[in-house]
Amino acid sequence: MEFSTSPYLLKDTSVRRVMTQVLLALVPGIIAYVLLIGPGILAQLAIATLTALAAEAAMLRLRDKPLALFLGDGSAVVTAWLVALTFPPVAPWWLTVVGVLFAIIIAKHLYGGLGQNPFNPAMIAFAVCIVSFPALMSQWPGAGSHLAPGQQFDWIFGLTPRLDGMTSATPLDALKTALRADEGHSGPLPFLAGNAQAVIALCYLAGGLFLVWRKVITWHIPTAFLGAMGLLAGLLWLWQPAGFANPVFHLLGGGAMLGAFFIATDPVSGATTPRGKLIFAAGVGLLAYIIRVFGGYPDGIAFAVLIMNICVPLIDMTTQPKVFGMKDQ
């Protein structure tokens, strides 16, 4: 349809602008990350971004799509940043590359590219890597030990042998034990650097509120996600304070804030109707808690999001809002 019809006035907006605002909203969290955990994350972000852009360009070329238009839309960078931020900061560089390649090539382009992917690409990357490289995906800097910047880079680029001197080179079960052992006490996770996680989470929260304010996302998903997770955590904690961590611990620990504001809100793979968003996000929050607490993985956000992604068509179909004038019919 070549000829142009109304509206002739358009809001000054674009996919690129939406994506840029998402990236901007991540910046406070990244700054806190650098200050509290170390600059290694910057290397990870750079690796992820470059890999994502290269993979995106290659796929666009293969699929014969306009390169400049799509490469500039910023969606690949958002995916890359989310991969980097959910992976351990000291993960080897090639792990980040593998994750991003998975996200961009398999989860995004093989499903049809921008707007077509039924699954959250960053979470596909996380899930694939944690299943394939459980040990590497669980190496977080240990509590209280602030790794020197040089040391972080050494680890990322494989200049020092891993495991040696690693503060928390724990396989999954050990992590889990640690988590279990810590439960009942409020406070940060033991295998994380002090209370860094909570501070970073609060920064993500601030960025997320910025997105709500800018109307890039609506309140539904974060509210339902955090509400459902907090509620379940709260009930179990009230029931057995010694056996379960308190809800604040859960909401500020792990990837809850990042998940609630930046991951579950991915519009392409999430529910779209207001009620659908509530159901979708509550599902993610509950599943994430269950997997995190009772499952075999350190955090359950990725699997929770992917499981709920599958339910999206059904959720959307059954939650279509009533149209104007039809509310009482």
Partner: protein, 611 residues
Amino acid sequence: MGLMQLFKFKGGVKPATNKAQSVTLPIAKAPLPSVVAVPLHQSIGGTPRPLVQVGDKVLKGQMIGEADGWISAAVHAPTSGTVREVGMYAAAHPSGLLTDCVVIEPDGEDRWIERQRVDYKALPPEQVRELLRDMGVVGLGGAVFPSHAKTQASRSVPMEELVINGAECEPYITCDDLLMRERAAEVVKGIAIFRDLLQPKKVLIGIEDNKPEAAAAMAEAVKAAGEDFQVVSVPTLYPAGGAKQLIRVLTGKEVPANKRSTDMGVQCFNVATAYTAWRALGHGEPVISRLVTLTGNVAEPRNYEVLIGTPMDELLAIAGPKPDTDGIIMGGPMMGFLVPEAKAPVVKATNCLIAHSPALFPPKAPEMPCIRCGACAQACPHELQPFQMYWFARAKNFGKTQEYNIFDCIECGCCSFVCPSRIPLVQYFRFAKSEIWARERDKKAADGAKTRFEFKQHRDEREKQEKAEKLAKAAAAQAAKKAAEAAAAAASEGAPAEVAAPAAPLATGPGDTPAGPAAAPLSPEEAAAAAKKAAIEAAMARAKALRTQTQPQNTDNLTPAQQQEVADIEARRARLREIAKTELVHADAPPAATAPAAPAAPADNSDTSEK
């Protein structure tokens, strides 16, 4: 401006209003154009019948097209002069198709017919309505629905609110604003006409809060007239001036797509319509001019009182379009359209002409895939899911678009406005609607053909049967005659008269006379059976016809507004077809702009998916 509770409608957008530039100067009168071309079909409903011929001299205000049916409105000569042409002429329509026009060469004298003011209060309401129709009063907010047809309250629901629309929410347009500022007293008098006809409990005049001068002028005029109308400032939010949105904001009522607003005790008129209603009754002036905002890429944006039929390019020239002007938008930038033919005449629906330039309206960025961000759904004032409809429209799954209520879409453009992927959503919806209508029409045509075939078969059979009956009768008469002759002969020979008796029944029917020469091809039993069959068929046909009448169908029983939409869609469709000839080939393209708005309904009982 009384304090009252206002309601909100969902969605809406806030485009830059761009109104300031055209309100600095008072309304001016546009000079007499070199030619006026008055389209006969300027309102929803029947196309008026032309009353003049080429060569006729007409006076200003003389009726040149007579309303055809109840939902129709007369058209009049905007100035005195000579009829030069009655025929197809460029139209103010996105399709670019021609329409039936009366083209008048002005004589420069601008001589009026004899104008008669009427004391409408002394007349029965029915007569007032007829007057409004014959004066060509139609909705000037853009919908051009014949106003008289909206002045009848529902039989079962009492009229509660009369909503007067002075919101004028579209960017750039300021003609209602200026009208209210300068002619508030007459607007108020016009509102009183509608009030008297409808007898609502309340009259609410809604004006967007970016027009404080207009609101003040109206409040003043209401007070001066001693009326109890309420002037209400409503928040500036496009499309607050949509009838349904304004009704919602002022009364809290949501009129669904399938209902008349009077069925919910509310009715809505535009301020300019009220003004023309008063000019018609109070001054005897039919609707031959209207206020038009000339704005956009022009040197001097301003509102003009313009004769209907004025060529748009000639009109726009008054405002001094700048050199890079490359088109004319009729209406606002949200719902208007680029006029395909610059000499197309101003019509009653023309509220604004915007000089288009690439600088003012930059070419659209390339379309990206939908990222399901939901911005469109949040902006939609009808609470639709535009991206879902888009998805299905693109896939040509039109049934699904209907499931997602595509016909509730008012094409306000909010969704396209906000879409970060720059998808021309409304364009897809227009396309889908036109395709759906086209399919309905094709189906109707096929059903119609079937009905006609069945009817022909039925008729052939009946004719055959009638012929047989005739033959049988003739044979019987023959036999009767013979018998009578025989009887006469016998009588003359002194035979008993009773012999003639058996002949009598013969005259009335073939009967069981063995005497009949075997001329009748039908036995009496067969004839009787055929007659019975015909009767049954006739009854079935009647029942069928009745069912068709009573079953609401997708394209029957449309409100005139919907019929207009069909006509518009047909026209757009024709245009689409022109442009995408290879893609959209349908053999039976109708000249839609001039086609009757509603497809003639053949008597079928096809179970079209009615809601």
